[in-house]
Symmetry: D2
């Protein structure tokens, strides 16, 4: 069978590296090219030393979009909205696109200035991108050609709250979500300086993180109305991989714990990557895999849902591959049927 | 000036080691003896290698209570309630006691079976212990002879919420609090097994942690009525020291952010160990010191308060020394005027 | 094609978990059963939460050896030597065995009391086990039916020094090797207590680690005589996975750096799991994979060789699978062609 | 008693922060000023959040050297050699100087181009600086006015090897030394990027680290001749603080273990900061303190010496204060009589 030819724009970052690693092992795909402005002409393993000996691929400076069936955009936020119109003009309408940035996640262009501090450059395209959170939006993704891959906090939080929203639970939900340092990317910066990140915790952007509107958007779409309102405090954690989201909300009057748990069981039936677990999850049970572990407990009028993902796999590149699979009509787990290592 | 003679029961644990370290540097105190059932007759530095060369003290098996001015109880939960009646009988009423366990923190004996899974063995003494959270209960401590030193989660959370309770804020407060592994003590156990604790997060006892009632008790006493209700999810974090508590609650109708901040400014005026910080705190700014850093923000009808402490200092032994200072009428910072190291 | 039926004795430990994870993805193998004395009758994912949803296997208490083509022994040191004679008696001579313990690594039974503090219980079998360090002993393994899988320190150190030994370099080699905590197994103990293992380093067994004789044995066999003498200091490191071995030895008189490097190039030609790297290796480039990265430098009369492996993969279970592949005449990389994740 | 007025050039770095922290608690010293080019006019606690509430000091842009009794230079390597001549011209000969950089450590100016990649700018001053490794050079320091504070690797390694050199042990010594990330300073860089530094090890500059010549210089001066030759491999470790040096060398013919141990006992008699420990040391027993723990073992013709220090205290700022104390004729432990916290 002829393999699908995929290209990766921004292959030298952490999500780019994960994409290459996953796609190298994907049986239905071949990597046509991956770009890097830092390492053009150089072996992929210079940026991703884990891949030494596993691929001879070298980074290119540019992609030939006409040569591709699928394009993954793994560059910085703001790049995709600037480039997609020209890419589409050049490649024609057959090119499928999966964008890992935040550029096409929000349907409402008016949200961009507030949350991303920039006007959107291609607002006409916003509604053409499906929001790629498979377990909560599978049917739209099946029919999509362009996909906006969710943010890492959004993935963990929306998977924790989606069944509640769908089931009609409303109110303010308090979320504390702790992230590993790889979420900040491959370039050194003060917030990832090892001496001060090590053994430390530090909250940032309380109530103002840019993933909030995409979470509220998917929850609202599941609820069919404004329902859960998100009150999110992100924390920088002292580990490299993982997002751990702790969500608390009032139990609606008259509801039982069993009702709440049934919402989760039914929402995730048939979704092999979401595992409902009987005790609070652990990052080390999901890291390295495309799984999201979700735990639910109800006590004294309160619901607590805790979710754990690998921010670079289910929170980015693994989810991008899952989106590809669904969009292509393949089994959504192709190339993703691996467990991470433990411990 | 004659130094106060203090004894430590349970000197080989982590809180015992911190007490010894702090008291060795305290100008008004001398350590008469410290017990250990594991290391009797052996040098203190076998349990606490940081103290090698800094003290010649050896552990004893028992204390001579009559020889002491002050007794610190740093043994396991459940020991103090069993021993205090006999200790008092033997030592007479002049002996001051600071208990670091949970045994005398709750005024209401009926709470012990529910939260500590045991009947209280000395309920008549419960009301004789002052709750030793200095910044929120200083006046009672000044007059006390027996003090129940707060739990580590309780310290961080109550310092974050005390000013709100005092100011009349009510409602359900969502707390996510992340703790370092030293909070589990000096003995190896599955939850502190390095391969699985490393780079991991794992919640435990959601809504059921035993520090909840002591937090609600002090908040209620500050509010003068049942006010804030605690919805606490503790998390085991991949670091050795520190507690980081993120608290969220609705802003009362009609209140302003300035009003909220003023509650904190006025509550902690003159309390040098609580530092109000203008951005979210970091563990590495407080670890090794008796400080609690507290951050407050108010946005869109929500209050977020974040506090950070060293669980073994402000959350245990440093606070015990601070209680001693207040009880003795000394400057409460004597022997505690040090910064931790950074990073 | 009929798959090979394999059994695992000791499936609930860390090496057992890695074996199960690797064998589940191996195209030529099916897991017939895995034992655990702690979790008999219970799902494998209770011990290895990463495997939840990836296998329905439950642990058994015992194996039916006659039902197996291959047996992996992943229990404690000392168990294999006690059990193998009875296993063989029961299963007959067709059963292939790969022992991950130290019980059959040394050809000379007199070394066991000195290095393992016990007499060997089945000395007659010692010479029937091939030493399973594929890159240095491939031909013997191809013909073997029983294999002694090397120790983790031994793997890293022997791969660093094998080419030198083979090339005739002699003398005392100073080795400092740092290990992750997963090497101590899945049971909690004082040396893996998180509060004191975290952010710490501590050497142990300087010059007396039990992997020393197996390293000297394979080096001597490569040299054809006593050549390199090992002076090894192991260190407990503050991470979960990996072994990092730094080896230093005098450059023989008259030799050039190019000669030394040529020894490595020729020794590892065709060995895809050993990657010769142009700068000092990193644990995070090999962890999660079966690779060993090796770096060589020669300056001012000194040779420095540094090697890095994942102790649970190349240092244990991955190597066991590689041994299976070689023994069966398959491509040695079957089921092991994955990169670890980075970072 | 009038306190000594000290100034700090380069107060916003990690060593600058430690100096300020230590000097604030020093009973015989007051900090006149500390400079920062990044934070001029701003509170010291902006750079060092542990010091919030403990000092009102603000950084200045420049120092008034005439106003100082002692100047600590804690800026970058290369700055001191450029500035000291002008400082001395301005301040006159009474100003005492303790330089924490590498600029005045080597007596032989010809070594600078080879090891520091620059010509020395003030070679005439090199011999006027005493090498500030107190335990090995106390008498010279007592008489000095200008002191070159040793490097962190040099401190750990020279303290491990000094007694051997003094006792006449020669030959090549293999050293592997692992450092925490704080040794790289307060500015973010690729080698301290948390995602790739976390849980990783990576050697660098094998045999070529710039601390080698200062170690050989002090060892040669102790031996009275060229004796021990250093073969050093440094490793970047996944923790913030500490240096752990493992040294191996041949036991001279005819020597006994007791003789070797006696060298250490006699060399460090009366040196309270060097603790001879009966088992391999731990970073967490020395971190936060000015101690160096040293362990010696002799087996089968080999000597192994392992030392552990806090790179920012004994390896930098603590040692600088110790040098001040010795130079001033004070007890060398003044202001340094604290244990670090454990764990």
């Amino acid at each position: 069978m002829k393999k699908l030819r995929v290209g990766i724009e921004g292959g030298a970052g952490f999500t780019g590296g994960e994409l290459i690693r996953l796609l190298l092992a994907h049986p239905k795909v071949e990597i046509a090219a991956a770009t890097s402005s830092t390492f053009p002409g150089q072996p992929v393993f210079l940026a991703h030393p884990n891949l030494r000996g596993r691929t001879n691929l070298t980074f290119t400076r540019k992609l030939d979009y006409k040569d591709l069936d699928v394009l993954f955009l793994a560059g910085g936020h703001g790049d995709a909205m600037a480039e997609v119109p020209a890419i589409v003009a050049q490649a024609g309408s057959k090119l499928r696109i999966i964008d890992l940035s935040g550029d096409f996640r929000l349907k409402d262009q008016s949200l961009y200035p507030a949350w991303y501090a920039r006007e959107h450059k291609a607002p006409a395209l916003l509604k053409k991108f499906a929001y790629g959170l498979v377990e909560l939006n599978r049917e739209e993704i099946k029919k999509a050609k362009w996909i906006a891959n969710p943010g890492c906090f959004a993935t963990a939080t929306a998977l924790a709250l989606g069944p509640l929203a769908k089931g009609g639970v409303g109110g303010v939900v308090s979320v504390t979500a702790i992230t590993g340092s790889s979420g900040s990317g491959a370039s050194a910066s003060p917030i990832t300086h090892h001496p001060t990140r090590h053994a430390n915790l530090k909250a940032y952007k309380p109530f103002t993180h840019q993933h909030i509107p995409e979470i509220e958007q998917i929850l609202e779409s599941l609820a069919g109305k404004k329902g859960l309102r998100l009150s999110l405090v992100p924390i920088s954690g002292p580990f490299a991989r993982g997002i751990y989201a702790v969500c608390q909300v009032d139990l609606p009057k008259g509801w039982t714990a069993a009702q709440v748990k049934e919402l989760f069981a039914s929402a995730y039936k048939g979704s092999e990557f979401v595992r409902l677990v009987p005790e609070p999850p652990s990052l080390n049970a999901v890291n390295g895999s495309n799984h999201c572990d979700v735990f639910v407990t109800v006590q004294e009028g309160r619901i607590c849902v805790i979710s754990a993902i690998d921010n670079l796999v289910k929170g980015a590149s693994g989810q991008a591959v899952q989106n590809l699979n669904v969009m292509m009509g393949w089994n959504e787990a192709v190339g993703l049927e691996f467990a991470g290592h433990y411990p």
